[in-house]
Symmetry: C2
Subunit: 185 residues, 2 copies
């Protein structure tokens, strides 16, 4: 079925803010019923995240303070795309910078919008295996702890509300399902 | 271990924009190493989403145009929290408004930040069962198609890139894992 009856056409747009990481734009749109409405849209360069599986049947997680949430969050290693950067190359770079690991095998897990109600951030998730530890190399304003968890520990952290991040839940539930299909509940 | 070595303290904050749904603030923070940095933060009221399981072993999905992404997206029913609204009450309201269904049983699935790198949006996900169809009641600026998919169809939509949204992937992978644990691969 065509989606034409759902689409909002832009009447006019203006830029409210151009920042270091995000821009904010305001759109006047024509709704499918012909009426007009306002849409606030945050523009973001896109991002990557990595489910890094070790030979010990654990995954790598990072702990970092997220100013927007005023909390330290536990997440899969992740970062923003740099201008013109290929998502897979970005994922390789971020995994090495944040954790010090490089991986010999990479597979696309999923791509998804994180907050489609107000932002265009598109996140690309990869599964990385064949890990070798090299050297962590954080940006000068990044402060990150790296650790490993088993599937049981990851599940317990979800139950306990210690994993509290959409991309991380997507990756971990994907992993837990793969394990369940293999009889490793 | 204490997280003190990760925390960024606010030095000053200013509001760049106060909008209908989001606000934009700019924070100067002191990093753990004493240096200063800027953090752009989008404030959002929070949101809910619902994995609604029917007696036919399908889930309800909605299709809607998302201006921020300039695409029609397939998502679990979702919406913003209204001021002072309890998340579970919001989930019940959104499910009925968007799909016309009410549910007799509700369970918390997970809560998560959607974009912790730049936004404080906290999403609460619920599983709803015992569905009864009443009356869809959309906001005047909402245009939504409702449909049902089986687990196989949902999985195929992920593989085909037709489900492209973090909360929906979190909910669907959770469901697929539960099914795998029950031997319903």
């Amino acid at each position: 079925m065509s989606n034409e009856h759902l689409i909002e056409k832009t009447v006019s747009s203006k830029t409210i803010y151009e920042g270091k990481i995000i821009d904010l734009t305001l759109h006047t749109v024509q709704l499918p019923n012909g009426k007009e409405a306002q849409r606030e849209v945050v523009l973001h360069p896109g991002a990557v995240t990595v489910l890094a599986l070790t030979e010990k049947d654990t995954i790598l997680l990072v702990k970092q303070f997220r100013k927007a949430t005023e909390r330290v969050l536990v997440e899969t290693p992740a970062g923003k795309l740099e201008r013109g950067e290929n998502p897979l190359e970005s994922a390789k770079r971020e995994l090495e910078e944040e954790t010090g690991y490089v991986a010999s095998e990479w597979k696309h897990l999923a791509s998804f919008y994180t907050s489609p109600g107000f932002a265009d951030e598109l996140m690309h998730a990869y599964v990385a295996t064949g890990l070798t530890l090299k050297q962590q190399n954080l940006d000068e304003d990044e402060f990150i702890d790296v650790f490993e968890v088993t599937a049981d520990q990851a599940l317990q952290m979800i139950v306990d509300g210690e994993i509290y991040d959409a991309k991380t839940l997507t990756c971990v539930y994907w992993w837990l399902r793969e394990r369940a299909l293999q009889g490793k509940a």
